[in-house]
Symmetry: C2
Subunit: 211 residues, 2 copies
DNA sequence: TTCATTATTTAACAAATGTAAAAGGATTCT
DNA sequence: AGAATCCTTTTACATTTGTTAAATAATGAA
């Protein structure tokens, strides 16, 4: 090993490249679950991705901006939230190996009243949606990939409606424990309460009776 | 006019063809809002469409079947509903000029616990989804068309979650009046109540105070 | 570690919603 | 028209959830 490459291996640049490749690799494993991609398509996608490292409580996207980025959570947890009469309401959480995007803004090109915030230190891959949508024309595989990704998101959202519409607060809490038991350990209860559509006090009461 | 064509014009066959073309035309006007289609794509789509005339309370799709049809409501109203602990719960309504499909079954290919029922006499166009998905390979325009249609459905569903999650019953009722004032006139209140996530009694109370 | 801050639980009371049953209206069918 | 059925409202009471405030627990920064 030359002296030069020794210094390179210890350099910031190396660390950055290493992280970038490692993180992006996880994204492509995620993509592969949905759709086979040609080398050219993969390369085109890589060029519109960038890696972001964020700490708890930091904001990924602010309220009021039109969403033009799709995020992949490689590590950590993020949430979408908004304010209703001054109180902070969590719309959804995204854990590692999942996509997070404010679709109501992304697909309508209107400003979003929602923000994305980091709940647990996170490594995120940002996908430039403006460039992505242009790739749809040249790479039908990419259009199909994201069609399938968002179809899955659509299904999850429909199932969530069923949960909110006619289940009691306790049923919703128990369902959450079932589906993602980690959520309770990793997310502050104040966020979980509004996600379930109830107040923190009600959540505390439910936890007291269920325990 | 020959005697033959006179009889043809009065024939069942003529009525059927006339209705079919008229109805399908409306569907293609709907499609045009989303995506330009080539003549070949339009023709391919027409071949997988059929027209159905249904009366109030008739069932379009039954509980337990895997959804392999996408419907377009040309006239009338349909609803998706399911049973929770024996009570009938309306998940959504579809009015004229809109698509109705049980996406949680269509996109997962699992049996649906939900049914589609006619709320007001309806003229429906059924699109064979199995054949449609095959057309995606040969006609990227068609894939794009339905991608956009379902993206819009996704956005509507996300907005609905916001409505259910942290609005009071009264707010949800008032929002419904705002968005579709016809709904109240054309849909029985018992269906509207469960759609809003409340009981019929609560809806009556709200109506008494709001009036 | 210690202090300050933030998160969670508990309590007491108010408001909203659910349940069951009955009464009144509207609609449909014969 | 008349009977039967279905839909909607009303009532009384039970239960759930919200609100406010205080107490306790946990966390993070100096």
């Amino acid at each position: 090993m030359s002296l030069l490459s020794f210094y390179f291996l210890r350099s910031e640049l190396f660390n950055f490249r290493f992280h970038y490749l490692y993180k992006v690799n996880k994204l492509f494993i995620f993509f592969a679950q949905f759709q086979l991609l040609s080398n050219e398509a993969e390369k085109a996608l890589q060029e519109i991705c960038s890696v972001i490292f964020l700490k708890k409580n930091e904001e990924l996207q602010a309220i009021g901006h039109t969403c033009r980025t799709i995020y992949f959570v490689e590590k950590g947890i993020a949430r979408i939230y908004y304010y209703k009469d001054g109180t902070d309401i969590t719309e959804s959480f995204s854990f590692e190996n999942s996509i997070i995007a404010r679709v109501e803004s992304l697909f309508t090109e209107k400003p979003s009243r929602k923000a994305i915030q980091i709940v647990e230190d996170a490594d995120i891959i940002a996908i430039n949606a403006t460039k992505l949508f242009k790739l749809y024309d040249t790479h039908p595989q990419i259009e199909r990939l994201f069609r399938k990704i968002f179809e899955k998101g659509y299904v999850e959202t429909v199932n969530r409606i069923e949960n909110l519409q006619f289940h009691t607060a306790e049923e919703r809490y128990l369902a959450l424990i079932q589906e993602s038991p980690n959520a309770l350990r990793r997310i502050p209860l104040k966020y979980i309460a509004s996600y379930l559509g109830i107040t923190q006090v009600t959540l505390s009461r439910i936890r007291a009776t269920v325990k």
